[in-house]
């Protein structure tokens, strides 16, 4: 039966098509031969893609071993070497790990997913042992690439910002403002979202204000707040904070991102890990808000349970195993107790 089926398929195939197929196979095998013979050149000159799992694994494990031994050497030599040498050694190892990661990224398209995963694990293990090592050896020094990236950014950005300006005015399309409270000084601002259809809400350019928001929204944006106290009911999606100083913020959300915060206290309940970036002097404590109906609002936002993530802060400017100097836990004796607010002013 099977034989019959096959032969009938072969018969129905167009002979021209068969010829084409045959030619293609020949071309491919010729190309394969050509590639084999000149592969040492091409792999070193044009690209670091290796196109075979075994040659990738060989190269990968070579680099891995060399990095591991350099980490071990640095650890042994740490007592006898001076700190600037040590720092440059660590930076070199870090570059080597980055290159290893790059090698993996470049070759990932043909690697079996198991190899990608296990190689990723190796890279992250190497990073971790380097973090631990640098934490032990140079606890107070920052890595050089940090300051580099901050100085580089504005330079590389400037010409690119100007370019589109010449071609078209930046605000070609009038963008409407989202609902929010803006440009206030020394006021108490109260807003209830209960029964409203507001999805996103913005607080921006507030100075010395007290803000009380009750009910739930999907997204909350805080931008340029100074000397403010902000108490908000649970946010279902995410809160994005940019540029706050001398503030007390009591917030609950699925995700919370904090950029450019200085000298501020955050009382948070958050389902995932809160993050800070370009911030310092920020302190964290658990959410402590109460108003009529908050239990239902917390349930709506899936925040009825304390996750203790308020203390699991990731600092994107401090990707090391040792504690970031930019944030701390707010000592219990300095925390405010339960804050009770009402939705009416």
């Amino acid at each position: 039966m099977e034989d019959d089926g096959q032969s009938s398929v072969a018969e129905t195939l167009d002979p021209a098509l068969q010829k084409k197929h045959h030619d293609m196979l020949e071309r491919l095998s010729a190309r394969h031969q050509a590639r084999k013979s000149d592969s040492p050149d091409s792999s070193s000159s044009s690209s670091s893609t290796l196109e075979s799992t075994s040659s990738f694994l060989a190269k990968f494990s070579d680099s891995k071993r060399s990095i591991e031994s350099r980490i071990a050497e640095s650890r042994l030599a740490s007592s006898s070497t001076d700190s600037s040498k040590l720092k440059s050694d660590l930076a070199e190892i870090s570059v080597a790990i980055d290159n290893l990661e790059k090698l993996l990224a470049e070759n990932s398209y043909f690697l079996p997913s198991y190899e990608v995963r296990s190689s990723l694990k190796i890279v992250s293990d190497l990073k971790q042992s380097l973090d631990i090592l640098s934490g032990e050896l140079v606890p107070k020094k920052k890595f050089s690439f940090k300051s580099k990236s901050t100085t580089k950014k504005p330079e590389s950005k400037l010409p690119e910002i100007q370019k589109p300006d010449v071609v078209l005015p930046p605000k070609l399309v009038p963008v409407r403002d989202s609902p929010g409270l803006r440009n206030k000084h020394g006021e108490t601002l109260v807003k209830s979202f209960e029964g409203s259809s507001i999805g996103e809400f913005t607080l921006s350019d507030l100075d010395s204000c007290q803000v009380k928001l009750t009910g739930t929204v999907n997204a909350l944006f805080l931008h340029r707040l100074k000397k403010c106290s902000v108490y908000t009911g649970p946010v279902i999606g995410s809160i994005l904070i940019d540029d706050v100083e001398d503030c007390v913020l009591v917030l609950a959300s699925h995700q919370i991102r904090i950029h450019c915060a200085r000298k501020s206290d955050f009382y948070l309940r958050v389902r995932s890990r809160p993050i800070i970036e370009d911030s310092n002097g920020v302190r964290f404590a658990p959410y402590c808000l109460d108003y009529k109906g908050i239990d239902e609002d917390l349930k709506t936002a899936g925040l009825e349970e304390e996750t203790n993530n308020w203390a699991n802060v990731d600092d994107f400017r401090w990707l090391r195993a040792v504690q970031s100097p930019n944030w701390s836990l707010l000592p219990e004796e300095e925390r405010v107790s339960l804050l009770t607010i009402s939705g009416d002013s």
Partner: protein, 184 residues
């Protein structure tokens, strides 16, 4: 040369490499997990990157989901090589940072290594009242002035409800397939 060999290998495995980028808080990780049918209720901001291998129709998608925080945007370039499809995710409710969003996208599209990749723009968070529509986002990003050789499409979506995600990825996968697997 090399390109045809890559095509050949990819043809055999029907693999596509997709790079997901966009500003922080745009919803990249949530989109990937939602497409894969995973729980999206607890997702931390991405420190570094995630790789997800998803079987989509008859193709294997290797999706690289790279963190969008400012500090780590400079590392995006490490993931450009061999990218078949680029997914640019926009938080349609974040009106303030649309200029940032446009600038970062413009920078990305200048990148030679991404020149041949199909571009899907996902105008995410359409479930949020007050979010800009895909048309409005398209105008702000000035998509019409894009290089004529680029294959692109903008689709409104919500990673929260899942709406629009399949429409977007269907287009992306078909577009890549028609370029790479023309022999089929």
């Amino acid at each position: 040369g090399l390109l045809s060999i890559i095509r050949k290998i990819k043809k055999k495995e029907k693999e596509m490499r997709i790079l997901m980028v966009g500003l922080d808080n745009s919803g990249k990780t949530t989109i990937v997990l939602k497409i894969n049918g995973e729980d999206t209720s607890v997702i931390s901001p991405t420190l570094g990157f995630n790789i997800k291998t998803i079987i989509y129709q008859k193709y294997t998608l290797n999706i690289w989901d790279v963190g969008g925080q400012k500090t780590i945007r400079s590392y995006w370039r490490n993931y450009f090589e061999q990218t078949d499809g680029l997914v640019w995710v926009v938080d349609s409710s974040d009106l303030r940072r649309l200029d940032d969003c446009k600038m970062e996208l413009d920078n990305l599209l200048k990148e030679e290594r991404l020149a041949g990749s199909s571009l899907l723009i996902l105008a995410n968070k359409q479930d949020i009242q007050g979010a800009l529509t895909p048309d409005e986002i398209g105008k702000v990003l000035n998509l019409e002035s894009m290089d004529k050789s680029r294959h692109w499409k903008i689709v409104g979506c919500s990673a929260y409800t899942g709406e629009g995600l399949l429409e977007g990825f269907d287009w992306l996968v078909q577009d890549i397939a028609s370029r790479i697997y023309m022999l089929d």
